[in-house]
């Protein structure tokens, strides 16, 4: 492979990766404001519907994932960040916050461009705080707990975030 090709291919890939996202970004104010660049933040979201209540815990990132965000910052000078992923614990709770079911090691996707949080089987609209089913129907509403209250609830539910 000659040198020009060797340089041109990665350059083309990098430029392709720098293409601007489609459509305008949904602007705030946000009812559920999850900072996509904060790698040490633990986010606790409490969602309540007519027949269920779920606490979602978005974990802080691991050390290597934190280091990898250097790229996010560098790339962000050219192309804004459009998505991020967080490790997720999903806890179905009853009215007294007793855990009925718990699933760990899933992933939440922060859709920074459309301002929504995609969860397994559900989605949260960050502008309206609507808790939306996979079929698009509104299941209920979500609340973003303050830092201390969120950490306390996560600890009470036995989640090491």
């Amino acid at each position: 492979m000659n040198l020009r090709v060797a340089l041109a291919v990665p350059a083309a890939v990098m430029f392709a990766a720098c293409a601007r996202p489609e459509g305008p970004r949904v602007e705030g104010p946000l009812a559920i404001d999850v900072p996509e660049l904060c790698t040490v933040c633990v986010e606790v979201l409490r969602c309540r519907g007519a027949d269920s209540s779920v606490v979602y815990v978005l974990h802080r990132k691991g050390a290597w994932a934190q280091i990898a965000t250097i790229w996010d910052y560098a790339a962000g000078f050219v192309r804004p960040k459009t998505e991020d992923f967080r490790r997720l614990s999903t806890l179905t709770v009853d009215g007294a916050d007793a855990v009925i079911a718990r699933v760990d090691d899933e992933r939440a996707r922060l859709d920074v461009w459309r301002r929504r949080i995609e969860l397994p089987g559900a989605m949260i609209d960050q502008t309206s705080a609507d808790w939306i089913d996979a079929d698009g129907s509104v299941r209920g509403r979500c609340e973003h707990l303050e830092r201390d209250a969120g950490l306390a609830l996560a600890a009470r539910l036995g989640v090491q975030a």
Partner: protein, 169 residues
Amino acid sequence: MTAITHERFRWSLLRDRPLRGLGIAFVLFLRILYGLFYLGATVNKFRRNYAFSDYPLQVFTKQLGVIDPDGIMAAYLRGFLIPNYQFVGIMVTLIWTAVTIGLLLGVCTRWAGALAVFAAVNIGLGGFYDASLIPLAIIPLLFVVLPTGHWLGLDRRLHERYPGSIWFR
């Protein structure tokens, strides 16, 4: 006074003394990469009018809400950064600009590296600490310790002209 300069980087060094050549090339690659990183950050600072707006205040206040309120970082934010956000905004813009110029042009390179370490420590103290700051603080130490501005940059020529100056060593 006679100037003692370090060798200049040449591509032929990779052939003649491959280990040394690769080492120097790698450190220079890091310096340029780091300089470009700071260039992006500096452009961002000017775009946001970081020096002459209340944007730093917004950033610091928001960060205060997501960190441990009893920790040293919160104390630094509350006690120094937030009350002095205008001064901090100007200093950050100047320091980022200096690091960018220093590392990309290889001028006052050791000082630019020292400023970059100082910046990384302050970013951490300002409540933005995560593991990504560890390489961001360690890498510029290389530019403090090693004569990278003599390998590639203006320091070599300036040191020859001003051998007594501490700025171009």
